[in-house]
Amino acid sequence: MTVASLAILVPLLAAALVAGVRTSIGRAAGEALAVTAAAATAALCAVLVVRAGGPLDVLWLGGWAPVDGMPVGIALTPDVMGGGMALFSALLAVVALLSSRRLTEAADPLFHALVLVLLAAMVGFCLGADLFTLFVFFELMSVCAYALVALRSAEPSPLQGGVNFAITNSLGAILLLFGVGLLYGRTGALNLARIGDVLSAQGPPDALVVVAFALVAGGLLVKAAVVPFHFWLADAYAAASSPVCLLLAGAFTELGLFGLVRVYWNVFAEPFAGHEGAVRVVFVVLGLATALVGAMMALEQRHLRRMLAFVTTSTIGISLAAIGLLEAHALAGAMVWALADGCAKAALFVGVGALERRFGTIDAGELHGRGRDMPFTGAAFAVAGLAIAGLPPLGPFWGKGLVDHGAELVPGFAWLPWAIAVPSLLIGAAVLRAGAGIFVGIGEPPRVDPSTREAREEPEPPEGRDPILTAAALLLTLAAVGLGAAPGLLDATLTAAAAALDTEAVHAAVLFGAQVTPAELGAPFPSALAWAIGILSACAAAVVAWIALLGAARSNAPAPARSAMQAMRDLHSGHVGDYVLWLAAGFVALGGALLAGLT
């Protein structure tokens, strides 16, 4: 079982190598080395996923295995869910590294080293099984992400986005560590399984345990950019280069939710038994609020990368609402949805990068109609938009179908499929509108705000089309479309989700070395209702995109709706002090809601 440690060590050592020899071997060789290392990491993660089909194979670093269920050492638990997330991160890192030369004007050789350290940290976060290991990898990947966002420091927005990103996420990490300290003080343990066992032996949760959960969960939700912790994300992603964005939006943000799943089911599920209703309400409400705010802001944006940043926020909200059902089908659905729409978002980021490279701008108004000779990139936009809106039988639909099935199984949540269809049709519409305006030239170009016009330099002369980028966008779209058709993927995801939710089996495997083979489950075929919702929401997305293109919505909207939109725009001010205040208020509200519901 050295594969798990190698999957962390290979990218980390390669990063040191790339950083060390970058001046003597040149950029191309450095890039080749980095891509090789990332691909090797992906291969190692693939081995982990294949092996994880059997009993959970826990790796105790240095051989410090627990004695009588009392762990002292540091464990790595490469289960299918963690290995799968690590594999997905590694594949996105390969795409980001391969496309970096074409998409980043600042030819900084440290870029490759930073991406590799980020990858090592993401893999470590996916495999870690104790709170402090999770915290350290969480911070390591955050620091790399801050640096990657701020790398283009010749402009104000990357620096501003990087500072906001670093300040808010560091504060989130501080609060998370505060929660870790409280849990250690209560249980004397850092291993997730051990903390869970000690807490459930102590009886029903008291205020301290609930506050600790709120702090740990809140810290992870800051990373996942859930409302009201989401403000940093648009500033950071709008400013970062496209390869960085596709890696961050596809994997990094999702890992916040992955951490929440790990921590909730390994630590808190047993002590909170009997209070699931309250936890469900809190997470489903947070998820839906995030999904709606993200979707409405996405429809508002002219800056394409900022629009995709809000699309990311919205998809995270949908995932959180699904995970919040605390049910295996819904969790599996959230995982499939995260993979499929991670690919779709990556395709869109590559497409936006191709537009930026060619025209020197990513403003939807300035690009209006100029992409008419880029049919393939345009097709990628259209298909990705429809996929995100949930059109059957494209990839994200299969995830939604599983979530719908899970919602039927949880009493009182049968309405959830309709509720998550609304934000997904709105973000689908945002993507479709941008695509139709740029690649087909439908409708009036959005009005150009004179104040932003002056600040921008004259657009650079158009460069030629780039076939490699077009191919990359098409391939990623194809992955998003075809994911549902991959044989056995849905069944394997459901099996993995059920195994991750089986707290007792995980604890027995981690603390006592029990060899439990998870039962194979078969994913149900999406219900007729799920098909109907999918088709309806894709049609509605097209209609909303059409209305928005004709510019009717803005001028005819009732005054209260316009002032509400204006208020929401004003909230996303870019002032880091406001973001910190929202973050603090969000933590207080989250803690208060959980305290009210759980004690």
Partner: protein, 114 residues
Amino acid sequence: MNGLPYLVAAWLLVVGVYGMVTSRHLVHLVVCLTVAQSSTYVLLLAVGYRDGAAAPVFKSQPASTPVVDPIVQTLTLTDVVVEATVAALLLALTVQVKKRFGTVDPDELAAMRD
């Protein structure tokens, strides 16, 4: 051992956050972040403290001596390293902001984007 260290930890966190909310200077902002960060050091050390216990070094004392918890001390050390990295990166960004845009006010920088 009483509740005082926990109060100090909570106080450091609150004043750090207050300073970040009201900050008009990037260096001040970073320092406020490190103030908030130091609350976790106090909390972790307080969690591992035992009245009358010695330092967790066994070379010069018998193995049965009561000692304070070494795990939280190593956690604190790791945490110090992690946060030094974050502070260094943020200060480097501040230097870049000052060099290129001639300001250290986060709001002026926000007004400059786009």
